[in-house]
Symmetry: C2
Subunit: 344 residues, 2 copies
């Protein structure tokens, strides 16, 4: 997908090295495909096993399987990993290595422990560096939002009579036809299934009186969007009231999003709005989005952080409504990237 902006790897690497210097690390090792894409631009197949070794001095190395015998076309500093000892050899020169403790498996950790180096968990520090997005990243998420809108508009034309699973498949087909893919397994729930927050689309056929909740988004050049919309032909007064309340809460929260706002304050505000209406709190107001669909927001919202705003109310044996936008945090306001996707 063409773009006039390009990722600035030099700038990202510089920020990583600053973090490493602060934490007294002389290298970082990660097996996260997202981190590797962020710092090197390298993207392989989803099942590829990759390790990046990022030194304080010098260029990062990428260890890949010998089956990725094309890797050098895309990134020059490739180490072909016949066995894990080839990764250990890359780490040997370093004294203190940060690693992503949420992605690295125990098996790898036990191998790392054979080296006489200081190993330091660094997932939080690594994720913090990716919270504020650059212009290139925001453009990808904006494109993902636009594609999500187009696919949702087309698929939502015909919901009644199709199963939840068929609708989820139609969304994936829509994304693929536009050369993208879904950012996560789409959630499609109809009627009483809307009470389930993370419902896996099933055989249930959408009826004419069913509201359908669709949580779906495209991924563009690795960057995820995250959107939830409600579709229906008619809605009874009780459900309508609940739905209007959720939309109102979404607008209220969107109104207080700005660079410098404390996430705890936003969360407290969200919970107070729910409680005021007598609704249970089931999940938080939102989360960060980027190369991963769930990223941290940080304690205080940074300018150019991309987050979701997704109030949700779920009433047992009745219905649930969640409405979700992806927004970029600006000075004094939120810029709603998914704003072009109509909310009925």
């Amino acid at each position: 997908m063409g773009t006039h902006l390009k990722p600035d790897f030099a700038k990202r690497g510089k920020a990583l090295k600053k973090m490493m210097a602060e934490k007294d690390l002389d290298a970082v090792m990660t097996s996260s495909q997202n981190e590797i894409l962020y710092y090197t631009g390298y993207i392989g197949l989803k099942d590829d096993r990759l390790f990046m070794i990022f030194p304080l001095d010098g260029r990062p190395k990428l260890a890949v399987s010998p089956l990725s015998n094309e890797a050098k076309k895309f990134y020059p500093e490739i180490v072909y990993m016949e066995k894990f000892a080839d990764v250990l050899a890359c780490l040997k020169p370093y004294k203190a290595v940060g690693y992503d403790e949420r992605a690295v498996s125990i098996m790898v950790y036990q191998e790392l422990n054979k080296l006489k180096i200081r190993l330091q968990p660094a997932t939080d520090a690594l994720e913090a560096l990716r919270i504020a997005k650059d212009a290139y990243e925001i453009e990808q998420i904006r494109k993902a939002a636009a594609i999500t809108g187009k696919v949702l508009a087309s698929v939502s034309e015909r919901l009644v009579g199709r199963s939840e699973k068929e609708i989820a498949d139609a969304l994936e087909i829509g994304y693929r036809k536009m050369g993208t893919e879904s950012a996560y397994d789409s959630i499609v729930c109809a009627g009483s299934n809307t009470q389930f927050v993370h419902h896996a689309p099933a055989a249930k056929i959408v009826g004419g009186k069913d509201a359908v909740m669709i949580d779906t988004a495209a991924k563009v050049n690795g960057y995820c969007c995250d959107v939830t919309r409600i579709f229906f032909r008619r809605m009874d007064a009780k459900r309508r009231k609940l739905y209007e309340d959720v939309k109102h809460i979404k607008d209220e929260i969107t109104g207080i999003i700005k660079a410098g706002a404390a996430c705890k304050d936003i969360e407290d505000f969200y919970r107070s709005l729910l409680r005021k209406k007598g609704y249970p709190v089931v999940h938080s107001f939102g989360h960060g989005v980027g190369l991963s669909v769930h990223e941290p927001t940080g304690d205080v919202l940074k300018e150019n952080a991309v987050i979701t705003i997704e109030p949700g109310v779920y009433i047992k044996n009745f219905a649930g409504f969640r409405v979700e936008d992806t927004v970029v945090v600006k000075k004094g306001k939120a810029d709603v990237l998914s704003g072009m996707i109509p909310i009925t």
Copy 2:
């Protein structure tokens, strides 16, 4: 997808308990979605964080996020995991717990270490239990092969003029239209890109003289197939020779597959066939397939193990050919599950 066979969870659980007794474990913990599906039938969304605690005595517990507030509909013994301490509480009664060291992250391991229990790596032992497939499992893989064949037949009608990426997307669209999905990122490589074993489909447009290598398969009810086929309009003599050699080697290997055969002998035979023709050895003859697309084969082939046979020859700056079938190991022979997919 309907089937007259059903998974026999009681039998699978019994085999697991036998392994646990042999290894002196009184519980097994795993966060592998495949293991969880195998023993409980539970399947959620791909990004769900799940933990199964399988005790030597009693029924396995499944720890899920509170957002999976539908889980009890599908599996009775659900623990809603507000924090990881809820998983630790489930493990407290046990003295010796086996875990899957390849799936469990360091972060989780460090939590587990807070308990005064003996932790024992068990990935190999767990995977060994899933090598020989039951009739239900073989039926799913057979269905996956049939769907793969239909989708490949349809997509391969129009390759010239489309990009590798468009062809890969068309395969996913085909699988989704049949209510399934791809078992792994399809590999589509055209012309000289066939020299790359794990090529990620790119913008390259297939030309009339290009051979196209497609490594793709459907997944049915969690079960993967794994197939590679070569498509072309015409092929020059040099490439034709290479391609015929690879097909011949595949037939030779298929001929020696049978229950009781030593995998080392098959691998040695494969390598000797390659060497005899002067070809380099780039990867092994095959691997196990099941809920994961790459599974162990065991040292000696078991009856009803499902494996791939996938000889591949890759010549730098020229071309590569891999032809791959998924077969079930029987007494005295291999039953080629993907045999209905024509090899041109």
